[in-house]
Amino acid sequence: MILLVSELNAGKLRPSAREIVTAARALSAIGDEIHALLLGPGAAAAATEMAGYVSHVHFCEDAGYEPFKADVWTAAVAKTAADLGAKAVILSASRSGLSYAPRVAIRLGAGLLEDVIEVESDGATVGAKRFTYLSRVTESIRSLGLPVVISVKVNILSPADPAAGAGQVATIALPIDEAANRVEVLSQAKASTGGVSLDEASIVVTGGRGMGGSEGFTKLIEPLAGCVGAAVGATRAVVDAGWRPYSDQVGQTGKSVAPNVYIAIGVSGAVQHLSGMNRSKTIVAINKDKDAPIFKVADYGVVGDLNDVVPELIKLLKL
């Protein structure tokens, strides 16, 4: 059987929960039985929704699973996978997923297929594709056996359609192992991405050095993002200058995103930035330098002063 770990955001299923169902169904050679595990407040309600997609849903409402802690999640997921005899554990390659998937792999003695964009199986092994070398190379990787732990890149696979029948829903007892609870969260700060997480957003508006300062973001990037329901991103130069928090950064040393539309404004397009966004479905660039490398990866581009173009875009989108 295959075990999915479905992530919640403020008690609701993340869109990636349906994307990993798609991955699980692609692995039918190792079993049609798909179980989903949901942890934390809101798990019960989300479990009912998940039951529309998989054969079994296990949920544990324990408040100790929120906020995410890698140690705590590793213990719960590895135990469930071992108890159920999972041949594959699939989770989404969010920041949290990337953080605990390797630990689960070590604990289960399983291979790790990390941040994958495609999976298939012959029943004895699992093959996957993933990006390497700053997203410039597509690697085909294969497990040498089972079980495997798979983290699936967010926003790449199509969300699954509901299954024919409803799956069984049951609570699962997974008390927090206090000895393993080694990290104490003192405070949390939410990113200013308008409530949309950067890696899940279907539209991302990113400002670069050309914005000239943090005001460029509040006056142009944020209003434009607001018009189209986008998350706000930033380049390395911008976060280095302190105009935006590090958590907004897209690129090699920040987040890797693949939205439907990526709008890069005042962004030159250094390799380290391209590696975080060059898999976006449609790329739009606005830059006054016609030779900026960002135009090479752009589907649509405007050579012009962003201070002229962006206010006009905002005006037109508000009409």
Partner: protein, 251 residues
């Protein structure tokens, strides 16, 4: 206290990557210490400068060419290095097990690992190493303060960032913003040549069977439309909206 900095040598980000046969061809490519590992080396040195009594050692697992990056870490201030030399492209989980065995043998209280590798685009090594050691870890760390054996640190999360408290021993993975890495000076580069760089092989550590293997590597570039508009701001803005609405149908 003993601090371990794990490092990799990777192609320079500006180096162009090409393939030959079914894999990436690295012949002629310029290699550098992974930028994410530089943050770890720098943070270790700063801890000592802040008054912590610490021996700092570099640990690397990879081919002979890694030596150059290892020497750089010694020139920046690490005291000694262990290079587990192998040409095998071991998967990251197996690497973590070998490195965990090495960390146990050397003894360490704190390990820094780069947040994401610029060659395999992997962020798994730090968490996997922590698990193999039975330690906790913190990833994407942008602020790190050590008082006695207590760490107070800030790191990036899905939703933003959070500040946490944990105790040694721990594995810390780096993120840009943690510090501004220094460059080695010429006198220190000379001195580094006399520092200990111990060679080891996989046979010196517990054997672990690989779990995954790379089947092939290919460069797949998505064809882009490259429709570039120029002209007056208001006019191009209008054209762009029309293209996005009517042609691309994305807004």
């Amino acid at each position: 206290m003993k601090i371990c900095t794990v490092l990799k040598q990777v192609p320079d980000a500006e180096a162009s990557i090409r393939t030959s046969g079914s894999g990436v061809d690295l012949a002629g490519v310029t290699f550098v210490m992974d930028g994410m590992d530089e943050y770890g080396v720098e943070e270790a040195i700063r801890l000592r400068e802040a008054g912590h009594t610490a021996e700092i050692f570099t640990l690397a697992l990879g081919p002979r060419r890694f030596e150059e990056a290892i020497r750089t870490s010694l020139a920046i201030g690490c005291d000694r290095a262990i290079h587990i030399e192998t040409d095998e492209a071991l998967d990251v989980i197996t690497q973590a097990r070998v490195l965990a065995d090495a960390v146990k043998k050397e003894g360490a209280d704190l390990v820094f690992v780069g947040g994401k590798e610029a060659d395999w685009d992997s962020s798994a090594l730090g968490p996997a190493l922590a698990e193999a050691l039975g330690w906790t870890h913190l990833d994407w760390t942008t602020k790190f303060v050590l008082t006695g054996t207590t760490i107070e640190a800030t790191h990036d999360t899905d939703a933003g960032n959070e500040t946490v408290k944990l105790s040694l021993p721990a594995v810390i993975t780096t993120q840009q913003g943690l510090n501004e890495p220094r460059y080695p000076t010429l006198p220190n580069i000379m001195k580094a040549k006399r520092k200990e760089l111990r060679k080891a092989t996989l046979a010196d550590y517990a054997a672990h069977a690989p779990l995954t293997k790379i089947a092939s590597e290919a460069i797949q570039v998505k064809a882009r439309l490259n429709k570039i508009l120029s002209g007056e701001g208001p006019e191009t803005a209008k054209q762009l909206i029309t293209l996005l609405r009517d042609e691309a149908k994305v807004i």
